[in-house]
Symmetry: C3
Subunit: 309 residues, 3 copies
């Protein structure tokens, strides 16, 4: 329908109406697209995820349901936040995400839907899960879920599964246009609950960052040092980088790695530094496991310093 | 189409035809809806689940395929039975479920399709998997799969993968209305093979139950004590409950927990009793793992007694 | 549309045009069907698989997305090859598969799309992943992905995630008919990179084979001995088979198993030999774990000899 609107707009003389034209175009990027993507810390061994999807299909059988992951470690809000930025930007504008990592279920943390400037929707407890995505995609609007209107029928006796009774239900209604974004509930200030974290910086010839997460399947170590910070080292592909990794004040690793585009540029077993698929600096071993070999892990006590050799 | 039928019915004078009207309305709840939901003990590490889904898509590309879980522990029919009641009621009427936990594949256990009073279909070996769902949703009809008509072409040389060759194939044909429910095969008596289990009871001021399953991801302990039994204790939110847990005759845990609606009502690390998302009494620790801490597990040797402190 | 073409063809006098008729019929089996099936060694704990699916849905929201498995052990191309033959033949002709087990990402291994004689498409690095499927389904055509045309916009700075930027993107465009098979890129010779492996054989009264993989969920041992080789032993159901298993030159297991159609033919705990769902000879224990009990595993150092008792 958005397409139709645009088509009609083309026929209209847009001279003085340019602003309205643009408005319509912008509206287009917000239109929900029937795609609903789930993330949680429920695991896949029981039926919790399936119960959420059943509720969604009960709202509308036209929905297309997908997943980010359900293997977020229990209660790990930071990792939930990270998985959203790792994936959401690759989904089309108009996609609705439901993220349920909710250690405070039943307490007074707010249930919200964030609409980003890119037209993605995030249905979640506002407990820090939105920290990174709000920053990266920009806050267009935040609304609090009205749990009187947007709650599964006859679910009031259950206090511990808002994922099924509130978030999946509301996400499905929004994604299927059963309700408009306005009907989610009242508008909140343009902000979300954020987890404090150290940003990467460059000082005295050193790029400094943290290790927010591991590339667990392969044992690569992903830092938060982006190209803007890294480039101040003035290194080029093939150069050697001096690396120091700390856990708190303890130096866990000190070494030199080759700066490469991809692992295949070095023999098997050789340490490398490279930019990962999110364009952040990372450490790896060709066909090996950097994390396991050097006992380097992730989390808010871990930091890294890069300098020229 | 069911909707259309109902619409037409409204025009008909229903005076003497009330019974037929009701019949039509009831028929509606049985109409398959193109949704096919799989459960198995196959795991996700190999291609078995995918082979089943490929067979289903070969039957009809209009089907919408979903999963409960494929991480049922190998041969654990009881857990398969439990996952069905945990999830099926949240899926729309008309959904077809295929459950393959089939230690007796190739033996003379019957292959059946259960239609419940709620209009859900369950395609499965009749080996106890239907114990709980038949009880909770009610048996409308049971049919035995006619494996001459309802078996994948050229699959007769394979004796060990009825999940792919019979159940997924039949489930897909039923869900997509390629066959009617009658065409599944001959009608059987209104009963399914049931695993014997102890039901919760109240006697001498004590609520007695079992521990059918753990909420594994979080370490919560789920009992089968429902509100009807629990309420005879006359406890209210905030009260203290005396809890005893036994494995066989051994007392594994004795303690007192606070009766709460949700974990956030107590500080981290505190033991609680609460009603889970299936409205059964459960034990947990706010941000902790009750099962691991107290070595309380699940299965048919485990029982629990609740009383007033 | 293929159906329409065929319908029209029937009206045409096919006398001299028989060849063209056949050509049209053949074309039909190649028509993509909007089904896109993913396999990788990414695991499901992070967002990599979801990022690929987001890219695909951005190409066309009409696609139906499925999975084989994402639990291929990291870099294990052989297992990736095996999972394709275990599953692809059960999916309808016209299905597009994206397989990303890509230890050489960013090196000069070719990115290809194989079209088999059965009308299935395989989008993958040509690193051995196609070894078994090319042999089993036959090579109709191989094309190299033109990464100038078939690469996600603005993805050129990322060198390490071709799964997202090239394979998922190209697979989605092909499956949705956004591009034709010809538009994938230039035609290559009718061959794929193949991993060398020993084929089963029969000599001096013995059936000899290898153990390419385990049926991990249940601990069954799957060999590559098919019925053609096995039948030269002239055994019938109920007979006893002498089995020797070697790891390199070490004999790991020697015993006798009963030849059965299915596990239920023997009591619990008894060893059996049977044909698995891919019709290859396999070893198992009714309700037990053959691999764990006898320390028999899989891989290219493992071999097996069967003979008459």
């Amino acid at each position: 329908m958005a397409a139709l609107v645009l088509f009609t707009m083309k026929k209209v003389k847009c001279s003085g109406m340019m602003l309205i034209c643009l408005l319509f175009i912008f509206t287009k990027t917000e239109a929900q697209n029937n795609i609903l993507v789930f993330q949680s810390d429920f695991g896949l061994k029981d039926g919790a995820v399936s119960a959420m999807k059943g509720v969604a299909m009960g709202v509308s059988a036209d929905l297309k349901l997908f997943d980010i992951t359900h293997e977020i470690p229990a209660y790990n809000i930071w990792e939930a936040a990270y998985r959203l930025v790792q994936t959401a930007p690759y989904w089309p504008s108009g996609t609705v995400f439901v993220s349920v990592c909710d250690p405070g279920v039943g307490t007074d943390r707010k249930s919200v839907v964030l609409l980003t400037k890119t037209g993605h929707y995030f249905v979640t407890p506002d407990n820090g899960t939105l920290t990174l995505i709000a920053e990266q995609l920009g806050i267009q609007e935040v609304r609090e879920i009205d749990e009187v209107k947007n709650r599964r029928q006859n679910s009031n006796e259950s206090y511990t599964f808002h994922g099924r009774d509130v978030y999946a239900f509301t996400g499905a209604r929004l994604a299927s246009k059963t309700i408009t974004y306005d009907q989610v509930g009242a508008k909140l200030p343009h902000q979300v609950v954020s987890i404090a974290y150290q940003k990467p910086s460059f000082e005295k010839g050193m790029a400094k960052g943290t290790i927010p997460i591991l590339d667990i399947q392969y044992g690569n170590v992903w830092t938060d040092i982006d190209k803007k910070v890294f480039n101040q080292l003035h290194l080029k592909i093939g150069d050697t980088i001096k690396v120091q990794v700390f856990n708190g004040k303890d130096k866990v690793y000190e070494g030199a790695v080759k700066y490469v585009n991809t692992f295949g540029e070095v023999p098997e077993g050789v340490d490398v530094g490279y930019f990962n698929s999110l364009l952040n600096f990372s450490l790896g071993i060709n066909m090996g496991d950097f994390s396991e070999k050097y006992k380097v892990y992730s989390g808010n006590t871990w930091s890294i310093i890069l300098s020229k050799k």
